[in-house]
């Protein structure tokens, strides 16, 4: 692909990390965010805000997913939705609906959703999502207990061989060293580059685990250009750079098949 694929373009720009996005207003917030084209040009896969209001429970959950999918269609891309692990069968039904809407996948945040990442209920829903063709992406906030890397690696054991992406894990230097030491953990685990700050850290990571499981993602930070800067400042080989920039995400999310 000529353009980079941003696997984690946050569809709502928030005022601070913990802003509780008012769900009834989410469509307007997304429209505001997407008002301008990507700069530099990129295929933006839309991801939801981490914190969103749920006063109406599953109705609010559905509203978020409807807004995400509608916004993605409008700019000819795809979106990730959300489902609440504690909603049990109601969450499973929402995953089925999300898949029917053509979503690319679902984003989970153990911290924002109030459980430990290696909870069996989350693993069960991720397996269900995979069976529906949805790619799971799981937040790993730095220094979190709920979203600690060991819990997410434990989650991958519970999920079997299904591939999923860990978002934000590379923000913390300690995490980067851990991932290097474990050579990326199980082969079904992918990592996005969001919030990563130094090109030499990327050099070391690729040296330890290769480039096949690293994905470009801008996350909720300063935007695509600064996030791409990490990739540009690295000294990895050009084929590795291209894989991270677009090829790995395109393969994982079946973008060519979906016509994106």
């Amino acid at each position: 692909m000529e353009q980079p694929v941003d696997v984690n373009f946050r569809a709502v720009k928030v005022a601070d990390e913990y802003e509780l996005v008012d769900t009834p207003a989410i469509a307007a917030r997304i429209a505001e965010r997407l008002d301008r084209p990507a700069e530099p040009p990129a295929l933006r896969l839309l991801t939801p805000p981490v914190y969103y209001s749920l006063a109406n429970g599953i109705d609010d959950n559905r509203a978020i997913n409807d807004a995400m999918v509608a916004a993605a269609r409008k700019i000819r891309t795809r979106a990730f939705g959300v489902a609440e692990p504690k909603f049990g069968e109601v969450a499973a039904a929402e995953l089925e609906r999300l898949a029917s809407l053509g979503a690319a996948g679902v984003v989970w945040s153990a911290r924002a959703q109030g459980l430990f990442a290696n909870d069996h209920s989350l693993a069960e829903l991720m397996r269900h999502a995979h069976g529906l063709g949805l790619v799971s992406m799981v937040h790993s906030a730095p220094h979190s207990i709920n979203e600690g890397l060991w819990r997410i690696w434990s989650l991958s054991d519970l999920c079997g061989d299904i591939p999923f992406v860990i978002l934000g894990a590379l923000e913390a230097w300690e995490n980067i060293q851990l991932i290097r030491d474990q050579k990326g953990g199980r082969p079904n685990l992918f990592y996005d580059l969001s919030a990563m700050s130094e090109g030499y850290d990327l050099d070391h990571l690729v040296g330890a685990m290769g480039a096949d499981r690293l994905l470009f993602g801008s996350g909720g930070g300063d935007g695509i250009a600064p996030a791409l800067g990490v990739l540009d400042r690295s000294t990895i080989a050009s084929h590795a750079r291209e894989a991270i920039r677009s090829g790995n995400a395109a393969a994982l999310c079946h973008l060519a098949e979906a016509g994106s």
Partner: protein, 268 residues
């Protein structure tokens, strides 16, 4: 009736935490099992709050039902279940504020949280709005606190307690690690409306003695962390207080007097 008062009991389960969930039971069986636990450990009365890892697919409606269930449960043994503390889900935003009014009218003494299981930080703007509404009704806040845990750090509690000096804040699980205890003692030393719960203390009698030296016995309370239908062989907080080098007045204060005084309850 014994003067002991257990500040920290849950009606319901804590999903996902091994050892904290009992089998489901009819509420009468739950009551009888809980009373047997109280009697086993010479506890006269307790305060109750829900489990905080609940499913709420109907949003606020489900949390209202949790609070209503807790309120109804208390009526099964009001002489033993002396006070109830409901909860509100911070992720339900400012729609929660009206629920504070309803719970105050029902006689809830306060509200409780375990933010690690409720998805937003303790010092989120939504929490400030909720506590402001609670303050108008003289309600107290039971808040689970872990120095290294998501959303439950002592500095977050300090922000709330500083803003609302007339509201009593109870730091639950504060003595589970040395770091936790040190941080909460540091907060309690400067804020007189922060009180420290000894539930699940791993610091033993020395930890209790140290906390008494730092903040005074009048700021400490014992709790068991009992969940519905669970089986607990010993209450570590009781053991720690009994073995600590304290005088009788200090021991009595920690094991019940402080809770009754701070919650405005009559003695046994």
């Amino acid at each position: 009736m014994s003067a002991r008062f257990d500040i920290h009991q849950h009606f319901g389960k804590l999903i996902g935490v091994p050892g904290s969930a009992g089998a489901s039971a009819a509420v009468e069986d739950d009551r009888d099992t809980r009373i047997a636990f109280l009697d086993q450990f010479g506890i006269g009365q307790c305060a109750l709050m829900p489990g905080h890892s609940y499913a709420a697919p109907r949003g606020i409606a489900d949390v209202r039902a949790i609070n209503d269930g807790l309120h109804a449960y208390r009526t099964l043994a009001p002489d033993r279940f002396a006070a109830v503390f409901g909860t509100l889900d911070p992720r339900h935003g400012l729609a929660n504020v009206a629920e504070v009014e309803r719970l105050a009218a029902m006689g809830f003494r306060g509200l409780s949280w375990h933010h690690r299981f409720q998805g937003l930080p303790m010092d989120h703007p939504v929490m400030f709005a909720i506590v402001e509404a609670m303050t108008a009704h003289g309600m107290a806040a039971f808040i689970h606190c872990y120095a290294n845990g998501d959303f439950e750090s002592p500095w977050r509690l300090r922000r709330l307690a500083e803003r609302f000096p007339d509201t009593q804040f109870f730091a639950f699980d504060a003595m589970t690690t040395p770091e936790n205890m040190e941080q909460f003692c540091a907060v309690a030393e400067v804020l007189g409306n922060v009180h420290i719960d000894l539930t699940s203390t791993l610091l033993g009698s020395r930890g209790v003695e140290r906390a008494v030296r730092r903040v005074g016995a009048e700021r400490l309370l014992f709790g068991s962390n009992y969940y519905s239908m669970s089986r607990i062989g010993r209450v570590v907080a009781i053991d720690a207080v009994e073995r600590a080098e304290l005088d009788d007045a200090q021991r009595a204060a920690i094991l019940g007097g402080n809770a009754r005084r701070l919650l405005g309850l009559d003695g046994p």
